[in-house]
């Protein structure tokens, strides 16, 4: 008998979510352990973004529950879930276009959950030197890559234990994409858990501990990247590779 596993950092249990009439998530369960990197994959419209939004409390599940450290947070407001160490960088980046880079960072800054080295504005600017040069520029004056860096840096400033990245490399030039992936690897190496949604199969499988594939609101695959690569039929059918 193995010892009882510690409660996962974030867990969704049997989640059913609707948008109006359409049933988007159908009994989805996911677990993300501390320090783990999960790749969430699947084609457009399969429910990836909805799953994330349900986990962080932006969308309410009709059935099922969301737990942080084993505690039920299903009914808690989003800000309370965020304060338990869950950071979310949405698709489209969600930066405040009318605020300066400095202000975008300033409003996110807040003490981390006590332990460990905490992320400060100085450390974020060290990670993304390009942002340091543009502190007084408005959010909408940044290039796509800089916006993404700002969004990630801002999320880090909340000192999360889990960073969720939804399509962080979409619409970026190849070298910028590489930079983002390097950043993700670096963040991972600090022991922070990450949940990555991306269409670049090679990059995700290179970095993830586990892959979850969603098809029409259901989990059709969950396993290691190696297990996924061993199943080319699955790769082809659901990821088009």
């Amino acid at each position: 008998m193995p010892p009882p596993a510690p409660a996962p950092l974030l867990e969704g249990r049997e989640l059913d979510t609707y948008y109006g009439q359409s049933h988007v998530l159908r009994g989805v369960s996911v677990r993300i352990g501390a320090g783990e990197t999960i790749g969430l994959m699947g084609r457009n419209g399969m429910g990836k973004t909805t799953l994330i939004r349900t986990l962080v409390g932006l969308v309410r599940a009709r059935r099922g529950s969301v737990l942080v450290d084993g505690e039920d947070v299903t009914r808690l407001p989003t800000f309370a879930i965020a304060r338990r160490g869950i950071a979310y960088v949405p698709e489209g980046r969600g930066i405040f276009a009318s605020l300066s880079v400095a202000e975008n960072l300033a409003i996110a800054g807040r003490g981390g959950p006590a332990s460990g080295a905490s992320w400060t504005a100085a450390r974020v600017l060290e990670l993304f030197p390009r942002l340091a040069e543009r502190l007084t520029n408005r959010g909408d004056q940044l290039s796509g890559g800089e916006q993404q860096m700002l969004a990630i840096g801002r999320a880090l400033l909340t000192n999360p234990r889990l960073l969720i990245l939804d399509e962080a490399t979409e619409g970026l030039a190849p070298i910028i994409r590489d930079e983002i992936w390097k950043t993700v690897a670096l963040i991972r190496s600090t022991g922070m858990a990450t949940l990555v949604v991306d269409k670049t199969v090679a990059a995700v499988t290179a970095i993830a501990d586990r892959i979850v594939i969603l098809v029409k609101g259901e989990v059709v695959f969950e396993g290691t990247p190696a297990a996924l690569k061993a199943n080319p039929e699955l790769m082809h059918r659901h990821l088009g590779v």
Binding site: T49, F79, G94, F96, E103, I107
Partner: protein
């Protein structure tokens, strides 16, 4: 209906230099006061999405605080700290106790809630102070005039008001632009969800915004009391103008509100500060209410029913109401003509009444003093003149967009206003009577008695309104109409598709001007009187209100809106003071006890079924997750 009149200082007829300077200073002072009110409104709307109709009542409370404090202790100065403290306390109580539970609710509920507050505040004022006008003395320290040039001096108190308002505006800017909380407020106005995602508890932001907004409204009331006196419903006029300020300045933008408040203050004051005749509080109640009713369902039955009802109305009511009905129909034509621009093409004009008034003046100018002309002469003439004016104004103004378009149309309207206001062309300020157009062909005249004539005008108006409605339905279904719809949805894309959108907008603007001309002509025929107010921008704003009231996306909306607006004006006069208390409590109870509000019960559903077809169909708003 002069309840909301702003008692601006009298102005001289001739604009010599000191006179102009005084007007400019008055305009700046009035605009800054408007800013204090509008900045709270715009922040509360921008951050929390609440349309707070009771904001004008908060201003009134401030004025009465000044009155009471001055009566008790003899100094208005003491009223300032009292107002700040009371405003913050009241704001916190209102936010925590009431508004917090309404952020996620429909606009109708919010409107009913704030309407109930207006009634209760007014009732409390009536119980505590009574319904008389009171003047509030200017603080003795500032009760003198500052000499500017030889022969011209200006009130020291007004200078002080300008100074205090500017200081408060600067403090606001500092708070919003320079502090972390200000950044959070701007962020929350832009992407509320992301603020939440970053772990920020938005409730504290809401409380702060509400408290500051309320305190500013009270302070504005204190400052205004010595200038304008205190009187029942004094918040109405300021509320409506403040809404115009907020809309023009851009919802949620404090700096936008600042500049637009200054512009409006100057325009209004230089426009001789004539009263905002926009009826007061009750109007907004039905703005959103009527929104809920007719959206997007079909049924010629409804249209037929409405037409039948309007057709038999004169047989059922007294002549007084026939006249009132005619006025409502004329208003409906004006609103409908404006809808071609606002709802169909997405062009918000503040100068639309110019074409309406110009048509009425055209009838006056072509009619000999002794005898009226045939409608077959006057109507085409009025329509052609209005259309030509619209062609010229449109050609010059449609090169601009958004805020600038509003301002340019406003400016053209006011130019025309002053043309008739300041010259003897049409009787000057007082207006002029005219021999009304006759229902005649060549020498044959419809034999009507004096008693029958109002009925005839009513039916002519009804037929013209019906024709206008049907004509617009056909236009919207044509290729031309589809282009207008495309422009409304995404003008930039229309240009990229290859449409010279300017020409289409100009055509729509001209047609709308001609249709407003029909309404203006019927006004002249109905009243036999013209005056500059027909042209003024308050009439344009009234037409916009009717559209808001009835719904932005339909053609029948403006008609319903105009009828409701006219009816409301009448009803408001019938309500006695004590009934307000009962009404306020009833509305408050309904809003709190029925979570779905009145919109949840069966009535709207029935109305929805019989509402006529929506010509501007397919209004599915939100795009997909990627859109």
């Amino acid at each position: 209906m002069g309840r909301g009149d702003l008692a601006l200082p009298p102005t001289t007829d001739r604009m010599d230099f000191p006179g102009l300077l005084a007007q400019l200073l008055n305009g700046v002072q009035y605009g800054l006061l408007l800013f204090l009110i509008a900045s709270g409104l715009t922040l509360i709307f921008g951050v929390m999405g609440i349309i707070n109709l009771a904001h004008g009542s908060l201003f009134m409370i401030g004025a009465y605080v000044a009155f009471l404090v001055a009566r008790q202790w003899g100094s208005v100065w003491l009223a300032l700290p009292v107002a700040v403290a009371a405003g913050i306390a009241l704001g916190l109580v209102l936010e925590r106790g009431l508004f917090r539970h309404f952020y996620a609710r429909e606009h109708l509920d919010q409107v009913l809630l704030t309407f109930a507050l207006i009634l209760l505040f007014e009732e409390a004022r009536s119980l505590l102070v009574g319904n008389d006008f009171y003047s509030v003395p200017v603080p003795s320290l500032l009760d003198f005039s500052v000499p500017i040039t030889a022969g011209f001096s200006y009130s020291a108190y007004r200078f002080a008001v300008i100074g205090i308002c500017l200081a408060l505006a600067l403090a606001m800017f500092w708070w919003i632009e320079r502090t972390r909380m200000g950044a959070v407020i701007r962020a929350a106005a832009e992407k509320p969800e992301m603020v939440d995602v970053l772990g920020i508890d938005a409730r504290r932001v809401h409380m702060a915004v509400f408290a500051i907004g309320t305190a500013l409204a009270l302070v504005a009331g204190v400052l205004a009391a010595p200038l304008y006196s205190v009187y029942p419903n004094m918040g109405d006029g300021f509320l409506i103008i403040s809404f115009v300020v907020v809309v023009i300045g851009g919802l949620g933008s404090v700096s936008g509100a600042f500049w637009s408040a200054l512009v409006i203050g100057l325009v209004d004051t230089l426009g001789k500060g004539y009263a905002p005749k926009l009826a007061g509080l009750a109007v907004y109640v039905l703005i959103r209410a009527a929104h809920m009713i007719p959206r997007g369902t079909s049924g010629l039955i409804g249209l037929g029913l409405a037409a039948t009802l309007l057709a038999v109305l004169p047989l059922l009511v007294s002549p007084y109401y026939v006249e009132l009905g005619t006025y409502a129909l004329i208003s409906a034509m004006l609103a409908l003509s404006l809808q071609l621009l606002v709802g169909c093409t997405g062009l918000v004009s503040l100068g639309h009444a110019a074409f309406y008034g110009l048509a009425a003046y055209t009838v006056y100018l072509v009619t000999p003093a002794s005898r009226g002309l045939s409608i077959l002469v006057t109507l085409p003439l009025a329509v052609v003149v209005a259309g030509l004016a619209a062609l010229v104004v449109g050609a010059l103004s449609l090169r601009t967009r958004g805020f600038f378009f509003l301002m340019v149309t406003l400016a053209f309207g006011q130019m025309l206003f002053f043309l008739f206001h300041d010259t003897k062309l049409g009787g000057g300020t007082d207006g002029a009577f005219l021999a009304r157009p006759l229902l005649s062909i060549f020498d044959w005249q419809l034999p009507l008695s004096r008693r029958q004539r109002p009925y005839a005008v009513y039916y002519v108006s009804l037929v013209l309104l019906a024709a206008m409605y049907l004509g617009l339905v056909l236009i919207l279904r044509s290729l031309f109409g589809r282009v207008l719809e495309g422009i409304r949805v995404n003008e930039h894309r229309m240009q990229a598709l290859g449409f010279d959108t300017y020409r289409y907008k100009l055509a729509a603007f001209t047609i709308a001007g001609m249709l407003a001309g029909v309404a203006g002509h019927m006004w002249a025929m109905h009243r036999g009187f013209v005056n500059p107010e027909l042209i003024g921008w308050h009439r344009s704003a009234e037409a916009l209100l009717m559209i808001l009231l009835g719904g932005l996306t339909t053609l029948h909306g403006p008609i319903l809106g105009a009828l409701a607006y006219t009816a409301l004006g009448e009803v408001a006069q019938l309500i006695t003071e004590r009934q307000l208390l009962v009404e306020g409590l009833v509305v408050l109870f309904v809003v709190i006890a029925l979570p779905k509000g009145l919109s949840g019960i069966a009535l709207p559903r029935i109305l929805r079924r019989i509402a006529p077809a929506d010509p501007a169909k397919a209004t599915v708003a939100g795009a997909g997750p990627n859109g």
